[in-house]
């Protein structure tokens, strides 16, 4: 019988995970490249800068994770903190 946990899955191969990551890199590069050709109509000047949305998204997420990581120093407690 074919037990599900004996099976080898596509994602079990680290090279396939690499492929997905490279795909993300590729999509990002394409999205950045076509930014030249996309007309922008927003009222804010910053929005018309080249690649604003991509750069903002990247910086926001890195900042978010780094800040949250630092917050752990202050906020993190053992799971039984409130149980007495």
């Amino acid at each position: 019988m074919d037990k599900p946990y004996d099976r080898k899955y596509w994602l079990d191969n680290p090279r396939n995970v690499d492929r997905i990551v490279w795909l993300v890199y590729g999509i990002c590069a394409v999205l950045l490249a076509i930014d030249w050709f996309v007309p922008k109509h927003g009222p804010f000047a910053i929005e018309h800068w080249f690649g604003f949305y991509g750069i903002y998204g990247f910086v926001a997420c890195v900042g978010l994770v780094l800040a949250a990581k630092e917050l752990r120093r202050i906020l993190m407690r053992p799971e039984d903190y409130y149980d007495e």
């Binding site: 599900p4 946990y5 099976r7 899955y9 994602l11 079990d12 990551v21 993300v24 890199y25 999509i27 990002c28 999205l31 950045l32 076509i34 930014d35 996309v38 007309p39 922008k40 109509h41 927003g42 009222p43 804010f44 929005e47 690649g51 949305y53 991509g54 750069i55 903002y56 998204g57 990247f58 926001a60 997420c61 890195v62 978010l64 994770v65 780094l66 800040a67 949250a68 990581k69 917050l71 752990r72 202050i74 906020l75 993190m76 407690r77 053992p78 799971e79 903190y81 409130y82």
Partner: protein
């Protein structure tokens, strides 16, 4: 005649019938009730119905307009989906509670006056609290008690505000209230508590993850969206709501990144999504209020879907801690797939529901010239993709293989998730179907090259950030832990302060008793010294003692007499 009946009452009355039935009959009843209520809602003409006089007050129990209808549709949909998801549950208490909860929430939407609103507001409190208690663990009991206290405070504020409003204006009609009066402020705080405003928010993250697998799905749909609806009714265009909403979108995502309990991560992102709706209410234009209603509609469905998928994991694995999960896609592929649809919807990917609803609010913010708010909303949009869009499916279903091989979710759960996922995609692909339900006419086209490309840029570069941080090992790992939030203030600070006060009281009492005891024992020992077996006054016979005291009194009398 039938339009005198508030649709939610069908669920509430139906709840009373639940204990009579068993097995399939009960399941059929649970499913039939939301369908019947839906049919009634569809038949309601716009206008005020179900009016009657009570102690000189005019109550309007069924107010039907575009705003109450769109929320009612999605609440009924969520009830039905929740019922399907909970079909395997054989727990009368939970079934009755979820019907009362959903029914109260729906009837509260149709309330045309504040007293009717209050009655059903409290109905949601009772029903939802029982769903938290139903987990029947020590933790859920404690969290349920905290939840109940907060919700009751909200109800008391609402009633006080309504009473003040009646004194001021002689009416309890639920129209635009505004913040100019004390009554308005009280009601605003009452709504704000249920809407999880910053610093009033913590009951949400505290209680929802402690409820039962199926209970949390119901909880995620009703209470907070009822509050959003009430705010939109009472306080449209109230400027302070813009910064409040912006803060709500931003701060929970920091917690969501480091939280280990995945249902709690979803509770934080729920809070973040409410922020978008609150911003829409604060801006107060037709576009932004449409955005609030549309986003609430989509949000109820994709949030329920996400809670369903995490609930299925909890149901099958017995834990929902990110640190103990991973690799579940191998044996729960359907659940994983539905979860990803929910994640794509909350992240507002093109072709998913969040894309067509959140855009209304963000565009309204741009049109209104809210530059900083717009930046915060963009940050929150990237952030929500990061923690809900990627983190939830990644740590539950992929990441490192936990070695756990749970079976796929039960069929009824899969059906509920499949319908929800289909709705998420359906709304995303055919936005006109949603826009047609909105309270104001819609003049907005979500699928423009500009919107699709900029949104994809925002999201894909967020995914890029996640990949880079993951590959470089910078991303904080899931750790068995909890994080302090505002509930620390009442669970720890106030608790310790109260305990310190009691301890001080105890010490003072001990000191006092000590002093009294010492004085008493000194008095006793003096008494003993003089009157005890070897005491001076015990050496003589009582007659001698008597003669002594008689002489003493005589001498004293003489002394006073001569003075």
């Amino acid at each position: 005649m039938m339009n005198e009946l508030s649709p939610g009452l069908i669920l509430i009355i139906g709840a009373a019938l639940v204990p009579i039935f068993r097995g399939y009959a009960r399941s059929a009843l649970m499913l039939a009730l939301p369908v019947a209520a839906f049919a009634l809602t569809l038949s309601l003409p716009h206008g005020d119905h179900g009016q009657f006089e009570l102690f000189g007050l005019t109550l309007t129990t069924v107010r039907v307009d575009g705003f109450s209808l769109i929320f009612a549709y999605v609440f009924l949909l969520a009830s039905l989906l929740g019922m399907i998801y909970a079909l395997h549950v054989d727990d009368t208490l939970q079934q009755v509670a979820s019907l009362i909860y959903a029914g109260s929430a729906i009837s509260a939407l149709f309330a045309g006056d504040l007293l009717t609103l209050f009655v059903f507001w409290e109905g949601t409190t009772v029903g939802s609290a029982i769903l938290v208690f139903s987990a029947r663990t020590d933790r859920s009991f404690a969290a349920g008690m905290r939840y109940l206290i907060v919700q009751i405070v909200s109800g008391v504020l609402l009633l006080s505000g309504a009473a003040l409003l009646y004194v001021d204006t002689g009416s309890i009609a639920f129209g635009t209230i505004g913040l100019e009066t004390t009554a308005g402020i009280l009601i605003f705080i009452a709504f704000g508590i249920k809407c999880a405003f910053p610093l009033l928010h913590n009951w949400l993250q505290d209680s929802y993850p402690e409820a039962t697998v199926t209970g949390t799905v119901f909880l995620s749909a009703f209470t907070t969206k009822l509050a959003v609806y009430a705010l939109a009714r009472g306080y449209p265009g109230t400027e302070i709501l813009v910064p409040i909403g912006a803060a709500m979108t931003a701060f929970p995502i920091f917690y969501a990144v480091i939280e280990n309990d995945l249902r709690r991560v979803l509770a934080y992102s729920l809070n973040n999504q409410l922020g978008f709706m609150v911003v829409g209410i604060g801006i107060g234009t037709e576009l932004s209020l449409n955005g609030t209603a549309a986003h609430a509609f989509c949000h109820v469905i994709y949030k329920a879907l996400l809670f369903m998928s995490m609930g299925a994991v909890l149901f099958r694995v017995g834990t929902i801690k990110g640190s103990e999960l991973g690799g579940l896609y191998k044996t729960m592929p359907w659940t994983a797939g539905f979860c990803i649809v929910g994640a794509a919807s909350i992240s507002a990917f093109p072709l998913f529901s969040g894309f067509v609803s959140k855009a209304l609010i963000i565009t309204a913010a741009m049109d209104g010239g809210y530059f900083w708010t717009w930046l915060v909303l963009l940050f929150a949009s990237a952030g929500v993709f990061h923690h809900s869009g990627i983190k939830i499916p990644y740590f539950a279903f992929f990441a490192h293989d936990s070695g756990k091989r749970p079976p796929e979710a039960p069929m009824n759960m899969l059906v509920a998730m499949a319908i929800s996922a289909a709705l998420c995609i359906g709304i995303g692909v055919f936005p006109a179907s949603l826009y047609g339900l909105l309270p104001f006419p819609v003049d907005y086209v979500p699928y423009t090259v500009e919107h699709v490309v900029t949104q994809l840029q925002l999201l894909m570069f967020s995914a890029l950030a996640f990949s880079v941080l993951m590959r470089t090992g910078v991303y904080p790992p899931e750790l068995p832990s909890i994080n302090l939030d505002f509930d620390w203030f009442y669970r720890r600070f106030l608790f310790n302060a109260a305990r310190a006060l009691l301890d001080t009281g105890d010490r003072l009492r001990a000191r006092l008793i000590d002093i009294i005891n010492r004085q008493l024992s000194r008095f006793m020992s003096e008494l003993y010294r003089h009157h005890g077996p070897s005491g001076l006054l015990a050496r003589t016979w009582p007659t001698g003692s008597m003669a002594f005291w008689a002489t003493f009194l005589l001498v004293a009398y003489l002394v006073f007499y001569f003075l």
